[in-house]
Structure formats: structure tokens, C-alpha cells
Amino acid sequence: MAERASYDVGYRVGVGCAVLGAVMVLGVMVLAQRGLGRAVSVPLVLFGLAIMLAGILAGLRFKDLRVPPELQASMREVRQGQWVVNLVLITGAAVAVSVFAGAQMWNAASGEAAVQWPVLMVAAVFMLIGLIELTLYRWRPLLDEEITRRFAGEAKAWGFAAAVAGMAVSMGLMLVDLRWGVSSLLPVIAGSLWVAGLRLWWLMRRAERG
């Protein structure tokens, strides 16, 4: 019974520590901006990064756990289906939130309002979760197989191409009007993740059809 419950441990440990570390780093960065001394903030940032690294190493160590054979066939298809749908929804939500964040950045760049850190952080968290879903599937034995590695690789290549094209457009907009360039950066990054998620969903959907 213990073995049944343990198949996703590496992923959970790794993601838990990575999110904890990221929240610490982001929190300290905000506090540092509000006057926390460098002597305090730098060690705390390093501590947060150490937690992230420890989580990643722990996740890789636990990767050896295997799914019991009697569970593989029934659970693999279900988990892979859930994975791609979650990825599309999370990255889609990241696009929606980053549009709000982009509007905030527009106001900040125009000097009309201060930067709204909570909105930016919500967007960053959605993007982080999307990135984790897209990259750390290899810690989850039910998701990690040759076909998903190939599809995820292709999806990441699409996302990267979208990011490069989007960044080029953003840089071009910056030359015309700095506000356009600054406010488009977050939606471009989130949109690239969404492109990768949609490509992965499409490839998996096509593979399911005979």
C-alpha cells in the first residue's frame, strides 16, 4: 500500500520545495524594495534559492520510485490526459492574469501609478506553475515515457520560438513607445507558455486517435 502512495513523491517534494523557495525569494525581493537592508535580504534570497535547489535534488533522487504494474495501464492514460488539460488551463489563466499585469505595467511606465506587486506576483505564480507542469513531468513516472518526452520537447521548441518572436516584437515596440514594450513583456512570456501547452495538448490528442 505504501508503494502505491509513493509514485508521485519526487514530484511533490521537488515542486513543494521549489514553490516554497520561489515564494521566499519573491517575498524578500518585495521587502528589500521597501527598505529591508541588503545584509538581511541577500542571505534570505540565497536561503530561498538553496531550498529550491534542495527540492530539485530531492525530486531527482526520488525519481527512481516506480508505479506498481497493476496500476500502470489504468492510470497512465488518465494522468496524461489530466496533465495536458491542466497545462492548457493554467497557462491560459497565466495569459489572462498577465494581461492585467501588463496594464499595470503600462500605468507604471506612464507614471500614472506605482507598480502593483501583488498582480505581478499572481501572474508570476501562474507562469511558474505552468513552467513546472511543462518541465518537471519527468519526475512523475506515469507521465514520463518516450512519447511524452518527444511531445514535450516539441512543445517547448514551439514555446521557445513563440517567445523569441514575441520578444522581438516587444523590443520593436519599445523603440516606438517604451510603454508598449514594457507592458507587452509579461503577456508575451505567458503567451509563449500557452503556445507550448496548446501544442502539447494537440500532439497528445492526435496520438490518441487511431
Binding site: P69, Q72, E77, Q80, E145, E146, I147, A207, R209, G210
Partner: protein
Amino acid sequence: MVEARLVVDLKAVRQVAGLTQGELAERAGVSRKTVNTIENGVFTPSVTVALLLAEALDVPLDDLFRLVR
């Protein structure tokens, strides 16, 4: 170098064995998507997966995959 093309006979061998894609996937420990994409020529598997499929069907590897020049 002589051009070689990979021909996949997995579908025919599986049907002769009377197995569905899902049943073969379960025997080989892969997903049904893997079997489906190999049969359709979308995905060329590694030697490891190819051997798992041959083992699951109890046939030699070159019954499933062969090169045509």
C-alpha cells in the same frame, strides 16, 4: 550512404496476435498513445521500447520493424 526506409509491421503482428492497442500497451508497460503513434509512423521508438513490444508480442524484433532500401 544508401537511403533506408523504416517499415513498421506492428499493427499487422498485433492483429494476428488478437490484441487491441490498449492490451498491447498494458503488456509492454507503455501508453496506448505510444502504440498508436508507432503504428501510424508518427513516432519511431527507441530500441528499448521496440524490444518491450517484441517481447510483449513474443516475436523477434525484425518481425515488427524492417528496413527497405
